[in-house]
């Protein structure tokens, strides 16, 4: 965390979209993280279940978020994440920080990072780790790219 982010946050809270793409309905993690980010002072929009990449990207732009958190446990990450990243690029919104939480096999982590995912938080990650990472890495508002 650095001083400039702190100032940005004091002016305006960080806005985060927590999304659950794919067919899986296990939403305990998504809900816990949504609430933890909210308790940490961020504004959180939780999309609910079964969001397509298009819906996620649309909602992110509409809600003007600085960070997207994708919760994926089903193994569909290699299909879903690249589509989200491509759509963000297409819409000129690739300054949004994208993080992934869930069960991601070690051999897929490099691929997802190449796609532009900033961090992957596996099972057992402390909430504070995720909160700190988002605070330290979102692009402050009003700063040109």
């Amino acid at each position: 965390m650095n001083a400039s982010h702190n100032t940005a946050e004091q002016n305006q809270p960080i806005r985060v979209l927590v999304a659950k793409p794919g067919l899986d309905g296990h939403d305990r993690g998504a809900k816990v993280i949504a609430r933890a980010l909210r308790d940490a002072g961020m504004e959180v929009i939780y999309t609910g279940l079964r969001q397509t990449p298009e819906m996620i990207v649309n909602a992110s732009i509409q809600e003007d978020v600085q960070c997207i958190g994708l919760s994926i446990l089903s193994g569909a990450h290699n299909a879903i994440v690249p589509r989200v990243m491509a759509l963000l690029k297409e819409r000129g919104a690739d300054d949004i920080l994208v993080v992934v939480g869930g069960t991601i096999p070690a051999q897929d982590i490099e691929f997802l990072k190449q796609q532009g995912v900033a961090a992957i938080f596996g099972p057992g990650t402390p909430l504070e780790t995720t909160i700190d990472f988002i605070r330290a890495n979102v692009k402050p508002r009003g700063v040109p790219a």
Binding site: G22, G25, H26, R28, R38, Y46, G48, S74, A106
Partner: protein
């Protein structure tokens, strides 16, 4: 971090006040032995000295994993004054009401629990090989895990299935796949459980047709369909249609099963997923059993007689880390169900009174860190299930926080059960923990806590109504968040995660690639070219017609609008899971929950 909320919000089923008079001997012990001991060495909490671990007066507080306070010692003063004298009321003997001590007079001496390992991944061909491996290694029955597209009623080639085919279970698109899945497995001799909910009747129909073609008698086949849609709305969220038509499909299977498959359980009323979604032990128990109440109410409204279908209602619980709390939950469940079936539903058939349940160890308790530690967790959880008197058991594999299990991990999980059954001696004596002041106290509190929840849910107008209001969903979200906060604060220790951490390499895991989707898509293409698409369309249209009507039962005759015969026709014509579910979507529409966070 705010810790006070943890303490206030965690549900407590235990009253700290004593139930009966404290004996003079105990009073004397407190004065002469306990007080000096505490003065010399005060009690220290397990985990951080804060939040859930500290009483308002600053002394250490001890709680179960569900946040329920536990005392240092339990004595007769923690049981009702008439507990010893009126043993029959509270416990009975094994195989006798109220069944606290088990549903079989001889416990596991006559028949061990069924070692039923939940398994399924990739293609039907690969899963068929795993099933044969499990059976060859002494597994007693099969339990099918389907992939997400199947659970959601989509074919493998549907756009929504991209990236999901064969990942969390086996991909089944048509009768053809089901024939492959069970090829070389005698369905008259093997009991099979199927974890399928919204499309349960479709997969069941496929199973029944495979059995029929093997020459198996429907009167003799036995197994269990999960078919519990209520817990999907509450916890796992794999629903397709809105609650009312979903409930109708469930009751269709009750009615069909009572007439045609007398040894098959048409439902497994499941607390497992409710617990995994973050419920406490008490919430798991109460919501699950109340789901059972809701199914009974709907079946009675159909015109079924309780004793026609109740003997085949089965349950499914989670076995989590907190050893005694879990045992109490299992023991209480039998008595609660007995009370409901007799007092609320006036069931006459003694078989209707029996709570029979399957147990699975808690997937949510498995850690991705130092995964082999999970073998110990699973062994303890399995022991709790056995001491609680489960009828069948699945032990998780140690690598399941990372992926679907490898063959080696799956074998260790099965061996864990065999060690319990054949080496530990715990299966030799029925309900060995009966009479423990602590266990009996916890058991009675579970019962009381569950009935408190039932009152609340009755006042809401039943479980479907409560779900529509988001009540159980919010209860779970709250409990899981409070637990997570306690973990974050170090008040609850997870070995290898927030304490005793080491740097480590990740183990070998089972990796499923996209080739399954390609293969299944190819199979579907051939199937659609080969079958009579006209016959498929006719069968689907007949199903739509039946689905539009309201079924009403008459004694001994299947409701004319019962969907099962129509689904069987669709299946025989090789209509796919996706096509059959789509036909029902046409009639019933789909469901989306308001999101509660």
């Amino acid at each position: 971090m705010a810790r006070t909320t943890t303490e206030e919000s965690l549900p407590s089923a235990i009253e700290t006040a004593r139930t009966s008079d404290v004996s003079p001997a105990e009073q004397q012990w407190v004065e002469k032995t306990l007080r000096p001991a505490l003065a010399k060495a005060p009690e220290r909490p397990i985990g951080a000295d804060s939040g859930v671990n500290r009483n308002p007066d600053g002394t250490a507080r001890f709680t179960t994993i569900s946040g329920v306070p536990v005392e240092r010692l339990y004595t007769p003063a923690d049981l009702p004054a008439d507990f010893a004298a009126d043993n029959q009321k509270y416990l009975g003997h094994p195989g006798q009401p109220p069944y606290t001590r088990g549903i079989h007079a001889t416990g596991y001496r006559g028949k061990l629990w069924t070692m039923r390992q939940f398994s399924g991944f990739a293609s039907p061909e690969e899963t068929n090989q795993r099933y044969k491996y499990l059976l060859a290694n002494g597994g007693g029955g099969l339990s099918v895990a389907f992939d997400l597209p199947t659970l959601m009623g989509y074919d493998s080639d549907h756009v929504n299935s991209e990236g999901e085919v064969g990942k969390c279970g086996v991909a089944i698109d048509s009768l053809e796949d089901m024939e492959i899945l069970f090829s070389g497995i005698d369905l008259e001799k093997t009991t099979v459980s199927m974890t399928i909910n919204s499309p349960a009747s479709v997969l069941w129909a496929m199973y029944l047709v495979v059995a029929e073609r093997q020459g198996a008698d429907w009167n003799k086949i036995s197994g269990t369909l999960q078919n519990d849609i209520l817990k999907e709305y509450i916890a796992q969220k794999e629903y397709i249609y809105p609650p009312a038509p979903s409930m109708r499909l469930v009751i269709d299977t009750f009615e069909f099963g009572s007439l045609h498959t007398p040894r098959f359980n048409p439902i497994s009323i499941s607390g497992y997923h409710i617990r995994e979604a973050g419920a406490t032990a008490l919430q798991e128990l109460a919501f699950t059993i109340y789901d059972g109440v809701e199914y009974v109410e709907w079946a009675l409204r159909r015109g079924l007689n309780v004793d026609e279908f109740a003997p085949r209602l089965s349950f499914f619980f989670n076995s989590h880390n907190d050893f005694f709390e879990e045992i109490a939950k299992f023991r209480a469940s039998r008595k609660i169900w007995y009370r409901l079936m007799t007092e609320r539903f006036h069931a006459k058939n003694p078989r209707s009174h029996l709570m029979r349940f399957h147990t699975q160890t808690a997937g949510v308790s498995l850690t991705a860190q130092q995964p082999k530690n999970n073998i110990a967790r699973v062994a303890l959880q399995a022991l709790a299930a056995v001491l609680g008197g489960t009828q069948s058991l699945h032990t998780d594999s140690y690598d399941e926080a990372l992926a679907l299990p490898t063959e080696e991990a799956a074998r260790i999980a099965l061996r864990t059960q065999q060690i319990l059954a054949y080496e530990s001696g715990v299966a030799q004596t029925v309900d060995p923990l009966a009479g423990s002041y602590f266990v009996e106290h916890l058991t009675l509190n579970m019962e009381r806590g569950a009935f408190d929840y039932f009152d609340k849910l009755d006042k809401m107008g039943g479980m479907v109504r409560a779900i529509e209001q988001g009540f159980p969903q919010k209860e779970l979200a709250e409990s899981s968040y409070q637990y997570q906060r306690a973990v974050e604060a170090g008040e609850k220790i997870i070995v290898g995660v927030n304490d005793f951490v080491v740097e480590e390499e990740l183990p070998e895991i089972l990796y499923i690639d996209e080739s399954v989707r390609e293969a299944q898509t190819e199979k579907l293409k051939h199937l659609r070219a080969r079958r009579s698409n006209e016959q498929v369309e006719r069968a689907l249209e007949a199903l739509r017609q039946a689905a539009r009507q309201e079924p009403q039962a008459q004694p001994g005759v299947l409701s004319s609008a019962n969907t099962m015969p129509y689904i069987l026709d669709c299946v025989r014509a090789y209509a796919t899971v996706g096509e059959i579910c789509e036909a029902l979507r046409d009639v019933f529409g789909t469901y989306e929950e308001a999101s509660w966070t």
